[in-house]
Symmetry: C2
Subunit: 143 residues, 2 copies
């Protein structure tokens, strides 16, 4: 059942590794279209907005601050048309501040989530539709 990654799957794995896990903000430009729309992402302060590449980097920096050692592991990828749906696991250590969260607890955190990533004809990302297990994180931090 296993087949080699498509160009878009390979690029998406790189984007998750380099940009979201490693925090290489400059690398984001290699993967993003001119604008990036956050179609659905409950709890994300940027939900509903369309960001420039600079705006995306600001969101990246702010979003990664709570757990700078964070890692996204794709567990499934389903590609069709202009979309790749990714089921993922996330882990990180709560060592920094973030909007809506209590001060850093130093706790090891983990959650799952799913993101539908949208591509343009140049294999660049134009936005996403996302859901994450925010309640799981909330309980790990406050419980």
């Amino acid at each position: 059942m296993s087949e080699p990654d498509s160009i878009r799957k390979r690029r998406l794995r790189e984007f998750l590794d380099r940009v979201w896990s490693a925090g290489e903000g400059d690398a984001a430009d290699e993967y993003l279209a001119e604008s990036y729309t956050i179609h659905n992402d409950p709890g994300d302060p940027w939900e509903g907005r369309t960001l420039s590449r600079e705006g995306f980097r600001e969101r990246l920096t702010a979003s990664r601050a709570a757990a700078p050692d964070q890692k996204f592991d794709p567990v499934r990828m389903v590609e069709s048309g202009d979309t790749i749906a990714v089921a993922w696991r996330w882990s990180g250590t709560h060592t920094g501040p973030a909007p809506g969260l209590p001060p850093p607890t130093g706790r090891a955190l983990a959650m799952t989530g799913a993101t539908f990533y949208f591509f343009d004809g140049d294999d660049r990302l134009t936005g996403h539709w996302q859901i994450a297990d925010r309640l799981g994180i909330y309980r790990q931090i406050t419980g």
Copy 2:
């Protein structure tokens, strides 16, 4: 960009409409394989279990009790190989009991979620990997 639904997409829409939205427990047998595995579903008491068709109906009845008028609306479907990933919106009125929730509030609730559904060679469902915005529901009920 719009194309007709595949057999599996059509069957999945029917399954969501008839089984999850309308609560037709007997109809589930038309869509399920002999066993159904819940691979990931944070907050679901059946997470990690493999259910018989009877076990699935028990989960259906218990899960729908909190909001019997509930409705699932698929907003995107991405199909490849044995999988269809669905991004969905859910709405319902909190009129019944459910594990882990306070007593019925009568409130109108809404959330989004994503489910990766897995099929066998007979186009029957063998399980899912799911994530839902539980924190959104929790806040709508307790806020």
